[in-house]
Symmetry: C2
């Protein structure tokens, strides 16, 4: 089992915030997570055009002072993962991404390096594959992976680009919340919807939820539940946060564990601009 205490993860809802440049809204978080690492190994597999994705991402990381190598170019990707200082898994189509990680037999190698303590950044589809499965993706299943099991770097599911239901909508298709409830009907795993701008940081055995501006909030305050299978703040009343300026930058809604149709409960954090 991977050691929880050594894990260093930054899971991002979206790589680009409306009106800003690629990774601009998370630059401070990335620098803070990477620490002294200078070289980042990039998994571009969620996109069809890996060369273009590599070029765009290399330019961005070089501008921050890091070297970037893309896994799609190297002869022995497993070996490169084993020697990586830091890993970035980019977004795109989650099924395409997971299938590539499985086909290249990188799932165990990445898990192992994260357990060693190297920092890993996931964005959008890259955040989903860091979860136990890809069951919270909204992407179309464009290719068929060997299984839905993913990296399991965390013990819950993330639903990135989380959009709150629009009460004025006349559209009859399911909302993101309804889709997440379908996941909960069939699975025991808690699900968190990360709104755009939201990031989740896992470090020093703790989980922290941050905003695009880097403000952070302890994910939950009850240490007794920290290592429990369902660590969600199910009974954490949202109004605990009223008046707390940190909450103003929280961009997450958590739809808690539900077993079949029973025990459904939710905690909503206040939404902000």
């Amino acid at each position: 089992m991977a050691s929880t205490i050594r894990k260093r993860l930054l899971l991002i809802s979206n790589s680009t915030q409306h009106g800003r440049g690629y990774l601009d809204h998370v630059e401070a978080e990335i620098r803070d997570l990477l620490g002294p690492a200078r070289r980042v190994l990039f998994a571009p597999f969620a996109m069809l055009d890996r060369e273009a994705y590599e070029a765009k991402t290399r330019e961005r990381f070089e501008a921050m002072g890091y070297r970037l190598d893309s896994l799609h170019r190297v002869a022995d990707p497993q070996h490169r993962v084993e020697g990586a200082e830091a890993i970035f898994i980019g977004g795109g189509n989650t099924f395409r991404l997971l299938k590539a990680l499985q086909d290249l037999e990188l799932v165990r190698s990445i898990r192992s390096r994260v357990a060693d303590g190297i920092p890993l950044i996931g964005s959008s589809a890259g955040s989903i594959v860091s979860c136990p499965t890809l069951k919270t993706t909204k992407d179309m299943p464009v290719v068929e992976p060997a299984s839905f099991e993913a990296l399991a770097l965390v013990d819950f599911q993330i639903s990135p680009h989380y959009l709150d239901p629009d009460p004025a909508s006349t559209h009859m298709g399911e909302t993101q919340e309804e889709r997440i409830l379908q996941v909960l009907e069939e699975n025991d795993c808690p699900v968190g919807g990360l709104r755009e701008g939201g990031v989740l940081r896992v470090q020093d055995g703790a989980r922290q939820l941050g905003s695009s501006e880097g403000a952070r909030l302890p994910w939950r305050s009850n240490p007794e539940r920290r290592s429990a299978p369902c660590w969600l703040p199910r009974h954490w009343p949202p109004n605990d946060f009223e008046g707390n300026p940190a909450v103003q930058s929280v961009r997450c809604v958590f739809i808690a564990h539900a077993r079949r149709l029973h025990q459904r409960s939710r905690v909503r954090l206040p939404r902000t601009g």
Copy 2:
């Protein structure tokens, strides 16, 4: 192979139109498709609560004068499919639906009955499983089917509840159009986005696109391409329809076959109310 000429299909984008009752907007289409059949076999598997779904659907079909039997209740579902007069596959989660059809070994039986000429109605997820695969679903993959291969009653993919991109949106997650383009990046199959209210009728070897009011339009006018692998109206200029009152009720956008990043082309039909 199923005989194309005998197929009788009604594939619906959404079972409920905003502001109307369950199946109200397609009642005339359903009656017309079912013809003299009096008894409908219902597949409720896309929903978790099959009893509730059965009760709601039975009430609706009884109000139209049909008897309804639900496949989840019968001891030998394959046998019941083999003797069915008509089939209705309801909506919900597409992965859950396909997995149930596979687990109950109903895929071949349904194909075979449709080839015999019995009418089949699919709604939302039920329309998707009528396609070659479930690759155009937007549902979360809440359970893992044995494969993504579906009923293949038609030779193209439907994307129901189609929402046109909103040019004013600041959301950075993929639009439905972008998700469909990801399908086309990896697959050779044409994809049609059926807007809410849209229905697709397959009968007498022809495909017709209709609206909630039952107006119909020949899907394509070039008979030479009718049996070609890609039968889409790629070169069918949308302005052919200007001034045609039937077009006012068409609710479909077709995103044509694309092989990798090349040859992408689209035909947009005018959008209406």
